[in-house]
Symmetry: D3
Subunit: 68 residues, 6 copies
Amino acid sequence: MPISARNKLRGKIEELQLGDVMAHVVVRVGDNLIESVITRRSADELKLKKGDTVSAVVKATEVMIQKD
Amino acid sequence: MPISARNKLRGKIEELQLGDVMAHVVVRVGDNLIESVITRRSADELKLKKGDTVSAVVKATEVMIQKD
Amino acid sequence: MPISARNKLRGKIEELQLGDVMAHVVVRVGDNLIESVITRRSADELKLKKGDTVSAVVKATEVMIQKD
Amino acid sequence: MPISARNKLRGKIEELQLGDVMAHVVVRVGDNLIESVITRRSADELKLKKGDTVSAVVKATEVMIQKD
Amino acid sequence: MPISARNKLRGKIEELQLGDVMAHVVVRVGDNLIESVITRRSADELKLKKGDTVSAVVKATEVMIQKD
Amino acid sequence: MPISARNKLRGKIEELQLGDVMAHVVVRVGDNLIESVITRRSADELKLKKGDTVSAVVKATEVMIQKD
């Protein structure tokens, strides 16, 4: 079931912090760390845990460009 | 001038498509291609062009997690 | 491959307008029309067309609440 | 005072969870449940509670399309 | 009908550019110019034009903080 | 290092509330208060505190227009 979001970065969960409503997820993708904030409920329902292989998914309209 | 956005992925512009109001930017970051849609005006003002070194910047609240 | 986005609204594409960089998609979901703007490239790659069954997917952090 | 956001889904609050900074709101819209994360302050100021009639409002650029 | 979005900046439209799918709107708010990209359809339906008094509305989760 | 985000509103932090995962930041910009929700980690790493001069940064695609 393909989705229109153009960015899917595959990696492994390196850290997971559960808050009351939100959860902070850190995913290692190659040399980069991708950080995500999702609902606590999604973290629970997906049973996310350190070491899981996941994809960080981002809609193209959410990506900014910074020039060096 | 550091910014709160937690994701900054450094790469090179591999493709740039200019539309009337928006522009589509493809950035190579390691093994991944990151795609971004920004305003045509920003693309013009930043004088973006193929081969430029840039960072793709994403706020953590915009990143979803997909389980494999 | 479940995703953390909490909103998936199933419906049928009722209208599709292709622009240079972006595409406007209108999906009928029950009594509601859901409108989406995605990249033209995603619309092309997913081969979207009128009548297709799709889901409109929205991250919970993007949903506002308006009181009557 | 009409707003440019193209999606307004009317329903009833079915669940409300208040966190320290954020609040999780679940709204029944026809056969669907729409989930929203807003600030705790907005939940307090709007005096949201279970059973309230509200609209879930989403900007079209935040809606992705997933093909079946 | 109050909305949970915490930022409403009142000003006047100083410039409006209509594209095929999207429209670029520039609003003067005090000493600042606020730029917005909305659908062309919303710009048409709201009959936006230069000089209109409008509010730029932003959800708090979309605002980043940059330190000087 | 210029960024494509078109809105940068300079002001002073008037209030800062730290939650478990997220932080709520209120910035005075001229006559307006801008409210932002960022990760607790960014608030800590940027060492944000009341009185700091900061910019609120917003991508144009996140700004809606409401007519009076």
